[in-house]
Symmetry: C2
Subunit: 465 residues, 2 copies
């Protein structure tokens, strides 16, 4: 008996007796997420019962109502809708495109209109193609070689970047500004290689802007699948005189009323200090928006529930915010920050999940050195959950407008290798989200919120200014 007791002491001492309150609370959060998480069920509904939630669409409104109702059912202190006017762009009938190697000899290729693009004329556009590796090539080519042609932006994502988001950053200017820039040289339209590291047949949409281009000078812009881009490039190399045809009838309508969805647990000790956790409720229309950003929404919703269900009552006011219109306007993020300023609300922390529902690897932080040091002091607590990545970087698009000297902004960083295989494409769908990975993300977020609430952000020294 004694022997047994001694052995038991020996075995458990390093586990039980040294387990701190933080370790226990974080373990409770992970256990709850993995055995009784709600994120996956919510995502199933958002994705499979509602679907793609482009700003201004019926589905976006359904998502507002569904998530509001779900938050209501959690028994939070307050749930409300924050009105925001959003742009409404519609894709219209499916786009169509082909490469014409000689009259009558055509090969169809998969394209989709970029979000915000104008339509082609009803009969489509057929023109010669000039391939470039980026906007910087336009100047070198000049109007002479561009006018009347379709500019084909074909700079691929750099596969040697370990973070696929870095590879994305290195390309996305082609999509966002490619049409506005090519229009200045008299291009008839632009075709942009999809932002995808994989070779496949899926065109990936995404936002683009005409900047200050007058309405009459706007040229249509579409994404082509990576395989389509390879085919077009090879065909052009063999014969620069080939033509490209595409047709799309998307259009921009009037702005419509929409909402951010907000739920709140009032802080027990510092109710005027607000912590936000959120994602964006809108998505592109091609898939069902499961990774971008249904995942971030349902994880954020579950953060509040996980804390509550594990018995943790936040000292600070904790809000989940499901932002509307991140994809093509950021109106929700801007509106939330604007109202916070109007109301003199003090936001001390904001955490966004908008990088997919994959296995969480850590966080990036946009904050003072003092706060970053504090975060680093928590690293050990995350190691049992294989969360190792604590880096400086952006928090997230929607929470960006909250930035000031005093706030800690953070972004969940999931594994990024598969993200752009699905991003803004028709295969951003529920079956590509793994339940455990999604739940681990929610638990990781809840654990950071717990620590940030318990220890509080480090106040910024007031020496400056």
């Amino acid at each position: 008996m004694k022997k047994f007791l001694l052995l038991a002491l020996f075995v458990t001492s390093s586990i039980t007796f040294s387990q701190s309150e933080d370790e226990k609370q974080i373990k409770a959060i992970y256990d709850m997420a993995l055995t009784n998480g709600k994120a996956y069920d919510w995502l199933n509904y958002l994705s499979n019962q509602i679907g793609g939630r482009l700003s201004g669409s019926v589905q976006a409104q359904q998502a507002v109502e569904y998530t509001r109702n779900q938050l209501d059912s959690l028994g939070l202190d307050r749930v409300w809708l924050q009105p925001v006017m959003v742009p409404k762009w519609v894709r219209g009938t499916p786009e169509f495109a082909y490469i014409e190697t000689k009259p009558g000899l055509t090969t169809n290729v998969p394209i989709c209109a970029l979000g915000g693009s104008v339509a082609t004329p009803d009969v489509g556009i057929k023109a010669n193609v000039i391939e470039v590796k980026g906007i910087e090539d336009l100047e070198k080519l000049g109007k002479e070689k561009i006018e009347g042609k379709i500019v084909f932006y074909n700079r691929p994502m750099d596969p040697t970047q370990i973070s696929t988001f870095s590879a994305y950053s290195g390309c996305v200017d082609q999509r966002y500004s490619g049409a506005a820039e090519a229009g200045k040289f008299g291009a008839a339209g632009v075709i942009v290689r999809s932002m995808n590291l994989r070779l496949d047949n899926l065109p990936h949409t995404g936002s683009m802007s005409y900047g200050d281009t007058p309405v009459n000078n706007r040229i249509p812009a579409a994404a082509i699948s990576t395989k389509g881009a390879e085919l077009l490039s090879t065909t052009l190399a063999l014969n620069p005189e080939i033509k490209f045809y595409f047709k799309q009838n998307c259009k921009q309508l009037e702005d419509v009323q929409s909402y951010n969805v907000v739920g709140e647990i009032r802080g027990s000790t510092y109710p005027n200090e607000i912590m936000v956790v959120g994602g964006h409720l809108d998505s592109w229309d091609l898939g069902d928006g499961s990774h971008d950003d249904g995942a971030g929404c349902v994880q954020s919703m579950d953060v509040l529930r996980l804390l509550w269900e594990t018995g943790y009552k936040p000292q600070r006011t904790l809000r989940v915010v499901l932002f509307m219109n991140e994809e093509n306007g950021l109106r929700g993020g801007n509106k939330y920050a604007e109202m916070a300023r109007q109301r003199n609300e003090k936001h001390v922390f904001a955490l966004e999940s908008d990088a997919g529902g994959f296995t969480p690897r850590g966080f990036s932080f946009d904050c003072s050195e003092e706060n970053f040091e504090q975060v680093l002091s928590w690293k050990k607590l995350f190691e049992p959950y294989l969360i190792h990545m604590f880096v400086k970087g952006g928090g997230g698009a929607d929470i960006g407008p909250l930035k000031d000297d005093n706030i800690v902004l953070a972004g969940l960083r999931p594994d990024s290798q598969r993200y752009f295989d699905h991003h803004h494409a028709e295969n951003d769908t529920f079956e590509h989200v793994n339940k455990r990975e999604l739940e681990l993300g929610a638990a990781t977020m809840a654990s950071l919120v717990y620590l940030m609430d318990k220890y509080g952000p480090v106040p910024t020294p007031k020496i400056k200014g």
Copy 2:
């Protein structure tokens, strides 16, 4: 101009000038893997042209020939086949099972025979069912409650384990020894809940053993899908008198000749010190064995090529070994170690990849403290590639038999969250392997091999004994 130069110095100093030879070599390896890796193409062939490679099957032999030819084409110093006799078990025609709630009222459920199981009688087995949560329950129930019945092992994998391999370890005794143990109590057969954290309709096979059970006392064993297990358990709870029917006609044939495939680059300085990198070429028969362990094979093959192509000539002899029969016998691993001892070969390092082709997270090591300390000193070099996990643990089943006091055994540790969704099931297929994740794994392995070769394992002090 000066200003520009100063700025350039400032920006690049911490990158270029402090970049060590190791950093450069490792970057070259990752770049090569991500831009010009061969692993994915090889896996495509293994999976889609050959398919599942159960020991003793035609496909296993095709895989031996294909990988030997591919290694030959790399221009290694030597490529050979190492003969090994392997067991040959065949599944036969598809298995069939149903739950009979009352005579004539049946619901089909997905099952598959466990590898090594005997067949049922031709007409199948129909019997009452006794559900248990593990082998330890048998003793409590006793022969009286078990005899003539089908024992249903239904302990699920523990979802709160962050490593899904830990959850697997906590369950797999039901599959491996369940039939032998239940047979002792007169059971008619066993049905085992599939080793899968997800609820789905896929039965997962895997090896089982009758131990020293006489041939005539062996009872058939099958896996049931997790949804099937839930249904069976619920049905039993409502009515313990329901019956279960299953039929399978698998059998064990005579051992057949097979091979380990070995390729070698001879060491420039210490040719008698051997380093092994490998995976297992055999797989289960239900899927195409892409994750288990086609991935590990093609990664191991690419390790040699990546080092060579980036200009690194190993000081020690580097072997890729594609082991045969890991799944149901470990004959290849045992034979390789046996021959190494016979020939007095000095193995200093062995690295196995047998945990799927997912994003690599790190390695586990089975080695001396001194060697583990050395490995930890390399951690910083892996951080840019998001490789953080360096832990003590097993190396791998195939390299296990090489274990002695002097060798460093290591196992690649990829992200484990999705692994058991596919493990030993019909959805362990090529489309579930991500090209970049596979390539990152190969590069991570090659980088460790490079460091281990360059610095050499720490010699074990000879004080003992």
